[in-house]
């Protein structure tokens, strides 16, 4: 069992709800300070967005954060260099698109992630049918390739995703791109419930989590939440590490209350 899954299963065993913030790599000059703040605020793992010019699953906020990072000259290599110097005590999970993964070969890409100390990988436009050879390369380098399931996923595909996902399963709460939602719908809860029947792997709910109250609501049925747009919106508006840390601290407090 690799780092992400070890951490996720351990949390699940003790009833701790997973807090998985997303930060776009290179979004600001001092972007790695955001990662440290997230750890201090109680993140269990951190998704690091490796910006791609043509994301097909990102809403306006994450798109804009990626655009900002690319405009600043961010590259995968530079982001991984930054990350490799951090030595953070929580697993890091790269979140990026298939073209960046396959561009120089999946083996090379996964090795670069592993060398930088990244423990997991999420590729939203790489469905289970297309996951080879990335899955093999990830396994060879001890990376957890986290798969996504959505409300539209059929029972047969849910079973396959549950079987092949590593680390945890990323349950997409709504049929939408990444972004904040005013309220959580029923679809996410139904998806998590059905995934539970297929696996004991932790299930993390993402897409649409806008604040601590919603996160706590989601953790009434899920093992944790991923939070992206709500954080990146604040960063794009000028929030620094301290402010982001405070905001994530509210999530931590809310999640910890659900376990009492």
């Amino acid at each position: 069992m690799n780092a992400v899954e070890t951490r996720a299963r351990a949390a699940k065993a003790t009833g701790r709800k997973l807090l998985v913030p997303y930060v776009t790599g290179g979004v600001t000059e001092n972007w790695t300070d955001l990662l440290r703040a997230a750890v201090d605020a109680g993140a269990d793992a951190i998704e690091i967005g490796l910006p791609f010019s043509d994301p097909t699953l990102d809403g306006p906020v994450v798109q804009q954060s990626s655009h900002q990072a690319l405009s600043r000259g961010a590259t995968t290599r530079q982001i991984l260099d930054d990350v490799s110097r951090l030595g953070l005590p929580v697993p890091l999970i790269a979140f990026t698109y298939a073209n960046l993964v396959l561009h120089g070969g999946a083996d090379q890409f996964c090795a670069a992630l592993a060398d930088a100390g990244v423990g997991g990988l999420i590729v939203p436009d790489l469905p289970v049918d297309e996951m080879e050879p990335v899955a093999t390369a990830a396994a060879d380098t001890k990376l957890d390739l986290v798969l996504l399931a959505s409300p539209a996923t059929t029972p047969h595909r849910r079973t396959e995703i549950a079987k092949r996902s590593r680390g945890f399963i990323y349950a997409v709460s709504v049929m939408a791109t990444t972004g904040e939602q005013s309220q959580l719908g029923q679809a996410g809860q139904q998806l998590v419930t059905s995934l539970r029947q297929a696996t004991d792997l932790p299930v993390v709910l993402g897409f649409g989590i806008s604040g601590p109250r919603q996160a706590a609501e989601a953790c009434g049925y899920a093992d944790g939440v991923a939070v992206g747009s709500a954080l990146m919106r604040r960063v794009l508006d000028g929030a620094g590490a301290a402010e982001l840390g405070d905001f994530l601290g509210e999530f931590r407090t809310a999640l910890d209350r659900t376990t009492r």
Partner: protein, 400 residues
């Protein structure tokens, strides 16, 4: 033709050149989309395979192509230009279809499919606006509300087509992300589809995108090649042309044209824009749901394409073209904007045909190749004129 057969899949009784189960042409194609869209793609694949094998569906489509689109389009000899070039150049006149380009063939097929699937509205992306106009037209014809995503830059340089779409009742949404062109309209259309898969059908405009679109769009466009082949058999002394030429952006008119000639000895030539030459200058990558040749930098970021023709301003190419290039069955060449403008004027002055700037790419290559002997004198050339040039008049007036 057997080269395109893939092992390990059920052959289609109607068309043996169906891609493999995962939608691959060789290593190209596939379905690289968010999980939320996989079931929708599977639904389209099932529905299309069933419809394509249904004589009633085909009959309704063929009827519409005849009485609404104006098919068959003629194969026009070019007397004066042929004499000047020393080759026998024939034009397959997709510019004479209703709405003025080949796009309508595919769109009517997909719109009928959408209605058969019980979808209530259409969404589409467009570059030059011809696919948007065709989709708006089909939406009006079938009573389906239509939303068209179009790069903001393209809405500015193709104002006539934006107005046409609105006249037809479509909603046109300018896309302001990225380079504000077709590439970004495609990304936005996929994002839009994620939020509306239950009631909306994504009417994709070229032989690209996730499986089954490259295959399906080629099948809806193969009417071009099949008609042209029969017309060549009737009109040409040789029966088959020596060269079959078509412009290539995403590549739908070329895919449809080539489908009629892939099992003949004709040389297949796809003409790309020099600034958007995914096959000639690209490398293997994944964009908008499929693996093919794409323009990208050393880091894997997609590069911005450039062409004077908005419809060719796309950094990727349909996967079947990447495969045809790799297998050697088709050859892909490039022409630049200067040659395109010259070709537009020359065709207009010699034949009285104002073609689309996209189509002028194919004309430009024939002019160059006949001039430098690449096409030997006396050869017969069949060129698909994919669309008419009305939409480009503002661009041409600006440059004149």
């Amino acid at each position: 033709m057997d080269q395109l057969l893939r092992t390990g899949h059920q052959p289609d009784p109607v068309d043996s050149r169906r891609p493999s189960g995962l939608g691959r042409f060789g290593e190209y194609g596939g379905r690289f989309v968010p999980e939320s869209l996989v079931p929708a793609c599977e639904e389209v694949e099932r529905a299309f395979a069933e419809a394509w094998g249904d004589p009633l569906f085909r009959a309704e489509l063929n009827h519409l192509l005849a009485v609404y689109v104006g098919r068959p389009t003629p194969l026009t000899p070019t007397a004066r230009l042929s004499a000047e070039l020393g080759v026998n150049l024939w034009l397959k006149r997709e510019d004479l279809t209703h709405t003025g380009s080949h796009k309508i063939n595919n769109v009517l097929g997909q719109a009928l499919l959408a209605r058969r699937m019980g979808k209530r509205r259409l969404i589409a992306e467009t570059g030059a606006g011809q696919h948007g106009v065709a989709t708006a037209t089909a939406g009006a014809l079938l009573g389906m509300p239509t939303t068209v995503l179009m790069g903001e830059k393209d809405t500015e340089r193709q104002q006539l087509n934006v107005f046409r779409m609105k006249m037809l009742g479509a909603e046109v949404i300018p896309v302001t992300s990225g380079s504000r062109t077709l590439k970004d309209a495609c990304s936005e259309a996929l994002r839009h589809w994620v939020t509306s898969v239950d009631d909306a059908y994504y009417c994709l405009g070229s032989a690209m995108g996730p499986h089954p679109y490259p295959w399906m769009v080629r099948q809806f466009q193969r009417v071009i090649g099949e008609e042209a082949r029969a017309q060549c058999a009737a009109d040409l002394v040789s029966g088959t042309p020596d060269y079959v030429v078509a412009c290539v952006g995403g590549g739908s008119n070329a895919a449809g044209t080539f489908a009629g000639f892939v099992d003949t000895p004709a040389r297949l030539i796809g003409v790309e824009a020099a600034g958007g030459a995914a096959i000639s200058a690209g490398t293997t990558g994944v964009l908008h749901g499929f693996r093919s040749k794409v323009l990208q930098d050393e880091h894997g970021q997609i590069s911005e394409a450039h062409s004077i023709a908005a419809g060719l301003d796309y950094p990727g190419v349909g996967p079947e073209h990447a495969y045809l290039a790799e297998s050697g069955r088709a050859t892909y060449v490039t022409v630049d904007d200067v040659e395109v403008l010259a070709a537009t004027h020359r065709l207009a002055r010699t034949e009285g045909i104002l073609c689309a700037l996209e189509s002028a790419h194919a004309v430009a290559w024939v002019i160059r190749a006949a001039g430098d002997g690449t096409i030997p004198p006396g050869s017969t050339v069949m060129l698909t004129l994919s669309g008419r040039g009305d939409k480009d008049m503002a661009t041409l007036m600006e440059l004149s």
